[in-house]
């Protein structure tokens, strides 16, 4: 190449400094979140570690911080998680299959359905709480019970499950479907025996992440009455509380001891969430196919 040296030229010095400064700003932007996350974890661990004892898991809430535990709350969270799993996964996957495999996108109602799901995903969680209060607790007369809480969380994370399942289904290449059709499979046979098995890892990962989001939710549960004193193990149609709600209750108390207890509760909650997230990531890495 015979480009004269002068034409290539050097950048002015100012440009280089500006480029550097910009790069540093970007690094700061990325780091802010991690710095806060690290501080938060250290802070919570320091405050909560002293109260992280067996009492936390075996005793109900109490006015005496040294004897107060979160057993009903932890059980409430686990029960809700099980109900959620049973209800939200079939609903979410069913909707995703309908949208990806059956729906004709030219039709206005299918487009509206999609828009509706996108919008539901961004509705504030407390609005779901209002829905639960109006329809489940008061309208249906269920009362302030565990089932109402679980159902409201179901509706809250349903869009997340749908979106994740759709992505997993869409990632299955069309050649697989065409191959099955060519062998005479019906549409449902194609979906049930080819598409779904291939999409299971993606669906499972997305569903676990959605569940993790659901059990960390506090606001909608406040409205369906989870903020009560529960001394006994929760039942489906009995009054209930959940771990994040219990944490909130402890934070709201003026005594410092309860703040520390709240930190201990947060450690338990974060440990559960972290386990679920790690499991989801492991599942994805272990089973996800690359086409």
């Amino acid at each position: 190449m015979s480009v004269p040296a002068a034409a290539v030229g050097r950048r002015p010095r100012g440009d280089k400094i500006r480029g550097r400064a910009f790069y540093v700003l970007l690094l700061v932007s990325v780091s802010v979140g991690f710095v806060l996350l690290g501080t938060l974890l250290v802070d919570v661990l320091q405050k909560g570690i002293g109260y992280l004892d067996p009492i936390l898991f075996t005793e109900p809430a109490s006015a005496n911080p040294d004897r107060a535990g979160a057993r009903p709350a932890i059980l409430g969270t686990i029960y809700m998680m099980l109900i959620l799993l049973v209800v939200v996964v079939p609903l979410g996957v069913g909707t995703a299959i309908y949208l990806e495999e059956y729906a004709n996108r030219e039709r206005w109602y299918n487009r509206l359905l999609e828009l509706n799901i996108q919008n539901l995903a961004a509705v504030p969680s407390i609005v779901y709480g209002i829905l639960g209060l109006a329809f489940l607790v008061r309208g249906l007369g269920l009362g302030r019970v565990l089932l109402a809480g679980a159902l409201i969380l179901t509706l809250l994370v349903l869009p997340t499950v749908i979106v994740a399942s759709r992505e997993a289904i869409r990632a299955v290449p069309d050649s697989i479907r065409q191959g099955a059709y060519a062998l005479g499979a019906t549409q449902w046979q194609v979906v049930a025996r080819q598409v779904l098995p291939a999409a299971v890892p993606g669906i499972a990962t997305g569903s676990i992440l959605a569940l993790a989001r659901a059990i960390g939710e506090t606001a909608p549960l406040l409205l369906v009455g989870a903020l009560t004193y529960v001394a006994v193990d929760p039942t489906l149609l009995g009054s209930f509380t959940a771990l994040p709600v219990q944490i909130y209750q402890w934070i709201a108390r003026p005594q410092d001891e309860f703040r520390l207890l709240a930190a201990a509760g947060i450690i338990v909650l974060l440990a559960i969430l972290l386990t679920m997230n790690a499991f989801a990531i492991w599942l994805r890495n272990r089973y996800q196919k690359r086409w």
Binding site: L37, T95, I130, I251
Partner: protein
């Protein structure tokens, strides 16, 4: 079909459809469509749940008084139902959240899309998402018991409950929301645009700020709108760290009550159905829903716009 007529005479028609209608297949499609209907029912449910008690509320309190009133004291006697303090409180918290989330979110997106090596990006992106996965009650705890005392220590004299701490911590929580949508939009910008700019002698900084960011602007705005909508709808951080005083104040060191915090605080108690306190939850909820709904629709449209241009 036209081909059918041509071949019909010459050779036996090849029928691609099944011999008989399969009822099982139709039933399955119906069941799947029913699943899809659940989310439609949810939206209808939300609208109906909010509208009915709100209409009753506005029959007792005129809508004009509601929006023009500057005193919010629904549980006092005499009660006052001016929603402005809640709107101002919401706005204040949102503004402070944006001060953190918008610039840092955009910076993180530019870094991930334009500067980070693929391996770095692959680890940083999900790691950043962890921030969005931390329960908000935990952020509330952190804001109240760590960040507020910290602000006090560095000389910003804040109250125990204040807007600043809640807003800033919420802003950090929203960084991944901004970063991930903006980064998607930037990745969708065709490589040719960057190459063309480099070919003309542009530096990396120039390519990032004058080519990629303008080309991805609709996606970036979409992420901003969505983050603002999230900030408006966030409950727990505000409920815990910003206090419960509904007042009109532009001082971030003061406590405030947002729409969400009011709903949360009032909904906790067992308010009797049909009472005016009960209906205020819905009137404020409807206001909140309309505001966030408008922003969500705008954000969805903007995302669709950049997808149309580049994909």
């Amino acid at each position: 079909m036209a081909t059918k007529d041509v071949t019909a005479g010459a050779q036996p028609t090849i029928r691609l459809r099944a011999e008989r209608r399969r009822i099982g297949e139709d039933v399955i499609k119906g069941v799947l469509a029913l699943c899809a209907l659940v989310s439609v029912a949810t939206t209808v449910g939300i609208v109906v749940a909010l509208l009915e008690p709100s209409l009753e509320f506005f029959r007792e309190i005129s809508i004009l008084d509601f929006f023009s009133g500057d005193r919010w004291a629904p549980l006092f006697n005499p009660a006052s139902f001016g929603v402005q303090p809640l709107l101002v409180g919401t706005l204040m918290v949102t503004v402070w959240a944006c001060v953190v989330a918008l610039p840092f979110g955009l910076g993180a997106a530019i870094y991930l899309s334009e500067y980070a090596r693929p391996r770095v990006r692959q680890t940083l992106k999900p790691a950043l998402e962890v921030l969005a996965g931390i329960p908000t009650v935990v952020y509330g705890f952190f804001a109240l018991t760590f960040f507020t005392p910290l602000l006090d220590d560095i000389g910003i004299q804040v109250g125990i409950f204040n807007v600043l701490s809640a807003g800033l911590v919420m802003g950090v929580m929203l960084i991944p929301t901004v970063a991930s949508i903006s980064e998607d939009a930037m990745t969708a910008v065709p490589q040719e645009l960057r190459d063309g700019a480099y070919g003309l002698g542009a530096s990396r900084l120039q390519v990032a700020t004058r080519i990629v960011v303008p080309a991805a602007v609709s996606g970036i705005v979409a992420s901003y709108v969505l983050a603002i909508s999230r900030a408006v709808g966030e409950t727990m951080i505000v409920l815990i760290a910003a206090g419960g005083l509904a007042q009109i104040s532009l001082d971030p060191r003061e406590p405030a009550q947002t729409m969400t915090a009011f709903i949360g605080a009032t909904g906790i108690g067992d308010v009797p159905t049909g009472s005016i306190e009960y209906k205020t939850i819905f009137a404020v909820g409807l206001t909140l829903f309309v505001i966030t709904f408008a922003m969500n629709v705008l954000s969805i449209r903007l995302v669709r716009k950049y997808r149309e241009i580049y994909e």
